[in-house]
């Protein structure tokens, strides 16, 4: 049995402690140790973006980060996107614009899109596509995801 490391971190704004082996990825820790199963596994090698989370505000693939690396850092996941039961405008837009079908890639897209709009509040279609190129979707063909991001962007700029 490998040495377990005690990691203290912050997840979605809340202080969290967990034990993990160094070989456990952040994705594994989130899903199998903390039961935060909103972040999904699609490929486990950084090629699909299903496991996108932010680490100190930076978008990362949780499968390419070790659980032990988040000590003292701030992680945000899909579970932290709605605040006090209020959906983020992106979550609303994805529902209204049918920006999802099976939904497996959706948490990754939402986390990536939120970071996009924080950085570029009024992105062009080309900017959106470029930013989201690291998130694979097989169901939608991406069209309605982009429409949802555009809708959310307009609403957030209008303050609605």
């Amino acid at each position: 049995m490998s040495e377990m490391v005690h990691v203290k971190t912050t997840i979605n704004g809340a202080a969290v402690d967990f034990l993990c082996e160094p070989r456990q990825s952040l994705l594994e820790v989130l899903r199998d140790v903390l039961y935060l199963t909103g972040t999904k596994e699609g490929c486990n090698d950084g090629n699909c973006g299903s496991c996108t989370v932010t680490l100190d505000g930076v978008l990362v693939n949780a499968c390419c980060v070790l659980g032990v690396e988040v000590a003292g850092k701030a992680v945000t996941t899909i579970e932290g996107m709605a605040k006090n039961g209020n959906l983020h405008p992106l979550q609303v837009a994805f529902l209204e614009e049918t920006g999802l079908q099976c939904g497996i890639c959706t948490p990754g897209f939402l986390v990536s899109s939120r970071a996009l709009l924080e950085r570029h509040p009024a992105p062009s279609e080309a900017q959106i596509r470029h930013w989201l190129a690291g998130n694979l979707c097989r169901c939608t063909g991406y069209d309605r995801i982009i429409l949802a991001v555009q809708k959310a962007s307009k609403r957030m700029l209008a303050g609605t």
Partner: protein, 756 residues
């Protein structure tokens, strides 16, 4: 029940775009997919897979693995019981079992040979490394032509010819064959003023669903098995498990979960029997999940193919003859989609003389499974590019050629029966009159291509149970897995039939112990067939509610009218109750109501689509860029137009991936080289522009609201349309898929050399 009953102008719910009820859980991460299952005491299983494409398994020694601390069970083929006799024509249980775990021979790179259950995936992985397998490596067969050569290694001693849509007959130790023919092709070709003959090859491709295969098995104290699995048809999974494990179907409960994509590839068991056997052995629940590497190597991709097409047209533009021979991969076991491939090759056109020949070819690759209109994308690539060439040589507009030959309602199909109601000519005319068709192409090396496509679709067994609550809301439980939003389209059809709001209808999917048998979500059948089940049960419930109203008003049932959600007494118009008001009175007039319907509707109607694409070819690098993309599809009646558009766009982008970059790349030794999403190249958001969707509606008389299946045909056209566009851009005829930069560059060089 009246077919095609409701008229367009009285539909209240059908055609609107409400937000799906399961959407909230999906945008918050709360939705439960198969890998989100955590059970107390759960162990994790992993599979040891053959590193050889073809090898005799001389021995397996699992003792060291079993002794590793943290390992609780190890299995191999020896742990499988004798399978039960198959109950359905299309599932050979012993082949299925052998595909789940090799017996004497590993038949493809990645074929499972043993499995372990351990405390965590890391220990399980270490245990796999301790299993000793003695292989005798055999020659591998990797393409259809070598598989059918005279000296090809024989893969199965006694090959049973495969069945998929239609039966084949054994024609070679490694291949089954079928044929459809009519008229006299030599006479037909003698009337042709233009004949084109081409051969084509396509590579194995995968459905590419983002969620892998995951299965969790748990036995309870009296030997009842529960399985949580990612699948598109939990009843089929149950029946396959019952057959492989040789236990009664009623002892198994398969619980459906959210599915992260399937597209046909999740209709069979892979991990489920392994998880069940491991769980039985160690007495604890076992979850097994495939890595992406395993999904690509060891599930069910779609056929690579070798195709020959010869077609002739007379000078008036009528197709006079078609002689087609397709060899499609079946993978390691028979039953690939070649029959569907040949049946979709020409059937959307009226061709009086044809011979359609198909070979279902065994080779050392994973067993082929359906992928969105299985076999049709391959066949359309061949036929739609030949048609383009015929049009060019005739000097005719490519759409005009198709219109002149398009199958219409009542025309006789290859399968012998008359074509049900379709709007093919209308669809083609919509393409021709669309601004995209006429828009100028203003850059160098740009071209436009079109293709016209067809798919059957399925009806079949569907069950729905409906309960009316005292507050007027309604629960519907069906047996259909929802991968794309069908619980909403079913709720909409139910709401329409009951005359209530869609928000008042809650649709769930029942497990195999809670609802009647339902076929999987394939064949684009859910909105159609399970929709009819919902409408049928709704009408049964309305009939019962009519009786209750009649009782309340002390009149005959025949004096109670139900229309748009309101029950009225035709003898006294002041006596009226809404659905909600009557629901409130059910308890006191005999009890709350529920009913059930199990139906097996045929008449799903055909799926037709056309695709128009503009490309630009970088002649220095061979890169093909998509400039503009428009898909036209006949939905019959679009229940939820945004969902229909989503199916169309999703299928187009899968088709573009198939056209441009997706392919299984095998090494000379038969092992798969591209086992990750890095080198199995699916389109990203940056690889194509928006796809405009044009939805046409020729109502399907086989459904009360005119619904046709919409989920599949959108994939069949892009490869052919892109090939046609490339020809129009730079004058090269692509005859193989994928049309990767490497392939396009080589064709360009060939073309340049030929011009010198």
């Amino acid at each position: 029940m009246k077919a095609g009953g409701k008229r367009e102008d009285v539909l209240r719910v059908i055609g609107t775009t409400p937000i799906r009820p399961d959407g909230l859980d999906k945008v918050t991460g709360r939705a439960i997919f198969a890998d989100d299952i955590h059970l107390p005491g759960m162990l994790h299983g992993k599979v040891l897979r053959s590193p050889h494409a073809h090898a005799r398994i001389k021995s397996i020694d699992t003792r060291q693995a079993a002794a590793l601390p943290g390992v609780h069970a190890v299995i191999s083929a020896a742990d499988f019981p004798e399978p039960a006799k198959p109950t359905s024509k299309s599932a050979d249980i012993s082949d299925l079992a052998t595909n789940c775990m090799a017996t004497t021979t590993a038949l493809y790179d990645g074929h499972a040979v043993a499995a372990v259950a351990a405390e965590n995936i890391h220990i399980a992985g270490q245990a796999l490394g301790l299993i000793e397998v003695d292989y005798e490596v055999l020659d591998a067969v990797l393409d259809v032509r070598s598989a059918m050569a005279d000296d090809a290694p024989v893969i199965h001693e006694n090959l049973k010819p495969g069945f998929f849509f239609a039966s084949t007959k054994k024609a070679h130790p490694n291949a089954g064959r079928l044929e459809y023919s009519d008229g006299d092709i030599s006479k037909g070709f003698s009337c042709a003023s233009v004949i084109v003959e081409r051969t084509f090859t396509t590579q194995t491709v995968h459905q590419g669903y983002i969620e892998a295969h995951i299965s969790t098995a748990l036995w309870d104290a009296d030997d009842r098995l529960s399985v949580w699995t990612s699948c598109q048809g939990h009843f089929d999974i149950r029946d396959q498990l019952a057959g492989i494990l040789n236990i009664p179907m009623s002892h198994i409960n398969v619980i459906p979960l959210e599915v992260g994509g399937a597209f046909g590839g999740k209709d069979s068991v892979y991990l489920d029997p392994l998880a069940a056997l491991l769980s039985k052995k160690c007495g604890r629940p076992v979850k097994m999940a495939m890595s992406r590497n395993e999904v690509l190597r060891a599930t069910g991709p779609s056929s690579g193919s070798s195709m020959r097409v010869r077609m002739g047209v007379d000078d008036s533009g009528k197709l006079v003859a078609a002689d087609i021979s397709f060899a499609f991969e079946a993978g390691a076991f028979p039953g690939g989609p070649v029959s569907a491939g040949i049946l979709t090759a020409t059937t959307r056109y009226n061709i009086p003389n044809y011979r359609l020949e198909g070979f279902d070819v065994i080779l050392n690759k994973p067993k082929i499974r359906p992928y969105r209109a299985p076999g049709a994308t391959q066949s359309h690539f061949a036929v739609e590019t030949v048609l383009d060439e015929l049009a060019e040589k005739l000097g005719m507009d490519p759409i005009e050629l198709r219109i002149r030959n398009a199958m219409k309602t009542g025309d006789r199909l290859v399968l012998g029966y008359p074509c049900p109601v379709i709007g093919g000519v209308e669809l083609l005319e919509a393409v021709r009159s669309h601004p995209h068709y006429r828009a100028p192409l203003d850059g160098q090396n740009q071209g436009r291509g079109v293709a016209y496509g067809f798919w059957y679709g399925g009806g079949g067994a569907s069950s729905a149970e409906l309960s009316v609550n005292a507050d007027g809301t309604v629960q519907v439980c069906t047996g259909s897995c929802d991968m794309s939003g069908t619980r909403m389209t079913l709720a909409m059809q139910t709401a329409e039939a009951l005359g209530i709001q869609v928000s008042e209808v809650q649709v769930t999917t029942g497990d195999t112990q809670s609802i009647g048998f339902t076929l999987p979500a394939w064949g684009s059948r859910t909105t159609f067939a399970t929709g009819i089940a919902c409408i049928t049960v709704a009408e049964k419930v309305i009939a019962k509610m009519i009786e209750r109203a009649a009782g309340i008003w002390e009149t005959d049932n025949s004096n109670v009218r139900f229309d748009a959600g309101v029950f009225t007494n035709t003898n006294d118009k002041l006596q009226a109750l809404t659905f909600k008001q009557l629901a409130a009175k059910l308890d006191s007039t005999g009890g709350l109501l529920s009913d059930q319907a199990s139906v097996s509707p045929q008449g799903v109607g055909f799926q037709l689509a056309a695709y128009l694409v503009d490309v630009e070819v970088d002649t220095q690098t061979g890169k093909v860029s998509i400039l503009r993309s428009t898909i036209f599809q006949d939905a019959g009646k679009a229940v939820h137009p945004d969902y229909v558009a989503g199916q169309m766009q999703g299928g187009v982008v899968q088709g573009l991936g198939w056209a441009l970059n997706e392919a299984y790349i095998y090494r000379a030794d038969g092992t798969l080289a591209n086992t990750s999403f890095l080198d199995y190249r699916m389109p990203t958001a940056l690889d194509q522009p928006m796809t405009e969707t044009v939805i046409l509606e020729t109502p399907n008389p086989g459904h009360p609201y005119g619904v046709r299946g919409v989920g599949e045909v959108s994939i069949v056209n892009p490869p052919a349309a892109v090939a046609n566009a490339i020809y129009n851009a730079v004058g090269i005829r692509m005859d193989s898929l994928p049309m990767s930069p490497t392939a396009v560059l080589e064709k360009l060089w060939e073309h340049q050399a030929a011009q010198l």
